[in-house]
């Protein structure tokens, strides 16, 4: 039976994959070509992974029911558990192979992740859906109802576990959407978090379902009788209780299981926080301050020298006094619409928050004054915001009116659609066009009143004329200068003093461009290796180049000046591809974690800082 079942499931899976493989062709032919074949295939395959996992689980008894063979199958000379193994085993094997192949294809770049969800998370959801639908298939005969209930159960169970394990006891509900629901997992997969919490997140939601199936299937028969359902219910409840305990336990053990997050303040205090815990430890030279902030929803965000700002799981922005540890709630997002926070930037005493609006085509910029806690909401409506991910890259004043430069990247679009907008505080939206069209390939940087579009196409520099942006300089096609200046960093105030130079990659070399003359001058080699990477960060006026290579597993830091690149410090053995490695540059220094070791190094010379 095992072999027969395996052959059947394999045949079905091959047919399914054939359909998925062919599906992009008519889409490309009839809907216009949104991209190459692989780009269209990727999201289809991602969704296919999820739905096929659901189907494989839900069809546990599908053939028996469809061919009126349930009674025959149950009278075969196998125990019920043996029958379950023979029916579910091949499905599990095929599904694991299917998910593994898909995961490898995405991880190795054979197929690139669509923007729907990361591949790792899709594998996780696929596994959950498989086990949940497998379990429910012995209770529910109607296939459509079964799929719907499985889908809802998967979300409800995942949601419950996340609430219990990661968000804490009294926290309000997080956004019930894919991003919100799986946010910690999302961050975990993308952000190299440690494995055990992820495993708990994946396994716990399916525990009650699997326990119920294993415990009750011994009494499964053609009737789906009341005693059978009672056993299922009892086992499910027990599994749920175990799951809740484990989730609480997991949350309690997050201190040892969860990965640590660090934040280095402007005055070199090191804040330490773990996903799921309620405490932030603030280490200073010779002292440590313990601050209980309640369940925290995201890593520490930024500081202004005297205060540290953090979002809790109830969507409250909290200010932590770095000297006393006192807490002060600053702001809470609109709880009636559970606004999603896209971006946050600071300038002056203002924190600008970009929130989702009450409609799909609406966003709101909340200008929050840190001193008075006054929040001014500015609503913007336009098609550009539908499925878009807006980020503020600059701000300014014109004729007494505030504006924000906003860059929007459409989620899930192929090719990725981008738009650059100027949002005026009176609600007007000005689309920034280049030669009459939105520039869709290059990425904008707003520096010193100039808007740089750099990337794959030749660089353009636009200047604000007050009413619109006009081209100041268009670089020739062979002059590729790809800005690597981290102007996106939310910790850098938008109104930071204007720079004299911006830094970028020109071929295999590091170069800088004068913001006054727009002349580019060479600084030195970007890196000797093919897999070299790098970026520029600033400490005050001084710019530093952080460069490394994946193969050499190294990190070198250079000070940049007219004289070129001067090596400040090397960090051998830093392998940024390792999941347990983090390397973050703050305004005051650098924090490197690898394995269990934490190193803090202060600018300007990156000397070691010791904490208790």
């Amino acid at each position: 039976m095992f072999r027969k079942e395996l052959a059947d499931v394999l045949r079905q899976t091959v047919c399914f994959l054939a359909v998925v493989a062919v599906l992009p062709v008519p889409i490309i032919l009839f809907k216009g070509a949104p991209g190459p074949y692989r780009a269209v295939l990727a999201p289809l395959l991602e969704m296919g992974l999820v739905f096929w996992s659901l189907f494989l689980g839900a069809s546990l008894l599908g053939r028996e029911q469809g061919q009126r063979a349930v009674e025959y199958a149950l009278s075969l000379p196998h125990s019920r558990l043996g029958l379950l193994v023979r029916l579910a085993g091949p499905r599990l094997l095929v599904m694991l192979g299917f998910l593994l192949a898909g995961g490898i294809a995405f991880e190795t770049g054979i197929l690139s992740d669509s923007d729907i969800l990361p591949a790792g998370l899709i594998v996780g959801i696929g596994l959950q859906l498989f086990f949940i639908s497998l379990s429910l298939s012995v209770l529910i005969e109607n296939f459509i109802v079964l799929c719907l209930v499985s889908f809802l159960s998967c979300f409800a169970a995942g949601f419950a576990v996340l609430r219990l394990m990661l968000m804490g006891y009294g926290a309000g509900a997080v956004d019930l959407n894919m991003q919100g629901l799986f946010a910690p997992g999302f961050a975990a997969f993308g952000g190299k978090a440690s494995f055990p919490p992820i495993l708990l997140q994946l396994i716990l939601p399916v525990v009650p379902f699997v326990a119920a199936l294993l415990f009750s299937f011994g009494r499964f028969d053609v009737r789906r009788s009341r005693p059978f359902k009672r056993r299922y219910g009892i086992a499910f409840a027990a599994g749920l209780a175990f799951c809740a305990l484990a989730a609480f336990g997991g949350r309690a053990a997050a201190g040892s299981l969860g990965s640590k997050h660090f934040y280095l303040t402007q005055d070199l205090k090191l804040a330490e926080w773990r996903l799921g815990t309620k405490t932030v430890m603030i280490h200073g030279p010779g002292s440590t301050l313990e601050v209980r902030i309640g369940p925290s929803g995201s890593p520490l965000e930024w500081d202004d020298g005297s205060s540290l700002f953090v979002w809790d799981a109830d969507d409250r922005l909290i200010r932590i006094d770095l000297a006393t540890g006192e807490l002060e709630p600053l702001y809470r997002s609109d709880q009636t619409i559970r606004s999603y926070l896209f971006d946050q930037k600071i300038y002056g005493s203002t924190i600008a928050l970009v929130e989702a609006g009450s409609r799909r085509d609406e966003i709101r910029i909340v200008a929050l004054d840190r001193q008075t806690k006054k929040a001014d909401r500015h609503v913007f409506t336009g098609d550009a915001f539908i499925s878009g991910w807006p980020q503020i890259i600059g701000t300014g004043l014109r004729d007494g009116m505030r504006f924000w430069i906003c860059w929007i990247r459409k989620i899930g679009g192929r090719p990725v659609e981008r738009a650059t907008l100027r949002l005026w505080e009176d609600g007007r939206i000005e689309e920034i066009l280049v030669k009459g069209r939105p520039l869709t390939v290059n990425t904008p940087h707003f520096l010193g009143g100039l808007l740089f579009f750099t990337g794959k196409e030749p660089m353009l520099v636009l200047q604000d004329t007050g009413k619109s942006f006009e081209i100041k300089k268009e670089f020739p096609a062979d002059e590729i200068f790809n800005v690597q200046d981290e102007s996106w960093d939310l910790r850098i105030p938008l109104d930071a003093p204007p720079f004299s130079f911006i830094y970028g990659k020109r071929g295999p070399r590091l170069a800088r461009m004068s913001l006054e003359t727009l002349e580019i001058e060479d600084l030195g080699a970007w890196g000797d290796d093919d897999d070299a990477w790098g970026f520029v960060k600033r400490h005050g006026d001084q710019a530093y180049f952080f460069g490394g290579s994946y193969s050499r597993k190294s990190l070198d830091v250079y000070a940049l000046s007219e004289a070129g690149m001067r090596l400040i410090r090397s960090f051998p053995g830093v392998d940024t591809r390792r999941r347990d490695t983090r390397f973050t540059v703050y305004g005051s220094g650098v924090v490197i974690t690898q394995g269990g070791r934490v190193g803090v190094y202060a600018f300007p010379d990156l000397r070691d800082i010791e904490y208790h």
């Binding site: 063979a69 025959y72 009278s75 028969d221």
Partner: protein
């Protein structure tokens, strides 16, 4: 009875709120032929399903006798449950593997042959029944459970079916437990008769004993009120009364003519009596 090869021990089965079996106990010996009869919904098929393992009783248990395992229990259900999309060849291969049958060929049923490439769903009810029986017989079953499939066969196939089942009984000492309403063709097969009503066994007798205990009185002759009338049918032209349990001494003195009747009519009397009792309640 010799040691039972299969025992139903206080089986209770419910379908929702309806009780299909209510504490049913029965034992079956090797080589024994038993017919189970009863009104519709009496619990006959449910009992067979419990014995086959397709239904797990809510209470009670099915005990397999020494040396009997599940692979030696053959069940031809009234639903003729098989994977319908398979060809006969595929079904045979699967059945052979699952039941660990050594024989490469299915035992033939005399006078009955089918194209092995045909799909099960394309077979007639009769063909499907005989195919199912041939699969079961390949298991060399120690117990053969047959659920109300015989009357779906034409006279020729019915004869083939019964001859094959009897052949198995002779050769393998197979216990045959058959649910059947129509006993005109099969009256000589069972050694024992179980009659069920309302989820209970209301009669469990050897065939000879039963036939001796049930008599019919035709006509309007008056009967002593002490005679136990199991069931009575009356119309403008005809009146029949069925006496159970009958005693030979009643032939003299009661003035009535007690006639022997066939198993078919005995079963009809019991079922009719059960309906009357139900109406009276």
């Amino acid at each position: 009875m010799s040691d039972p090869i299969l025992t139903a021990d206080k089986l209770t089965v419910r379908y929702g709120r309806r009780t299909a079996l209510d504490g049913v106990s029965a034992a079956f010996a090797a080589g024994e032929a038993v017919v189970i009869a009863g009104s519709n919904g009496a619990g006959k098929s449910t009992l067979l399903r419990c014995l086959s393992g397709a239904v797990i009783p809510d209470l009670g248990r099915v005990v397999l006798g020494p040396g009997l395992d599940q692979a030696r229990i053959g069940f031809v259900s009234d639903r003729l449950s098989l994977y319908e999309n398979w060809t006969l060849r595929e079904a045979w291969r699967f059945h052979r593997t699952e039941f660990g049958i050594a024989a490469a060929e299915r035992p033939p049923i005399e006078g009955f042959a089918l194209d092995e490439g045909r799909r099960i769903r394309h077979l007639s009810v009769g063909e499907r029944t005989l195919f199912h029986l041939s699969l079961i017989l390949a298991q060399r079953p120690s117990v053969l459970l047959i659920d109300e499939v015989v009357h779906g066969l034409d006279p020729f196939l019915r004869e083939r079916f019964l001859e094959t089942a009897i052949g198995a009984m002779d050769e393998l000492k197979t216990a045959v437990v058959m649910v059947n309403h129509v006993l005109s063709d099969t009256a000589e097969i069972p050694e024992r008769v179980l009659i069920m009503d309302g989820g209970r066994i209301i009669l469990d007798e050897r065939r000879e004993d039963l036939m001796a205990k049930v008599k019919k009185v035709a006509g309007d002759a008056s009967l002593p009120p002490s005679l136990p009338v199991l069931f009575e049918t009356a119309s403008e032209y005809r009146r029949d009364r069925y006496i159970y349990p009958f005693r030979e001494e009643w032939r003299t003195g009661s003035g009535a003519a007690f006639a022997d009747i066939g198993l078919d009519e005995i079963v009809k009397a019991f079922i009719g009596g059960a309906y009357v009792q139900k109406r009276a309640r």
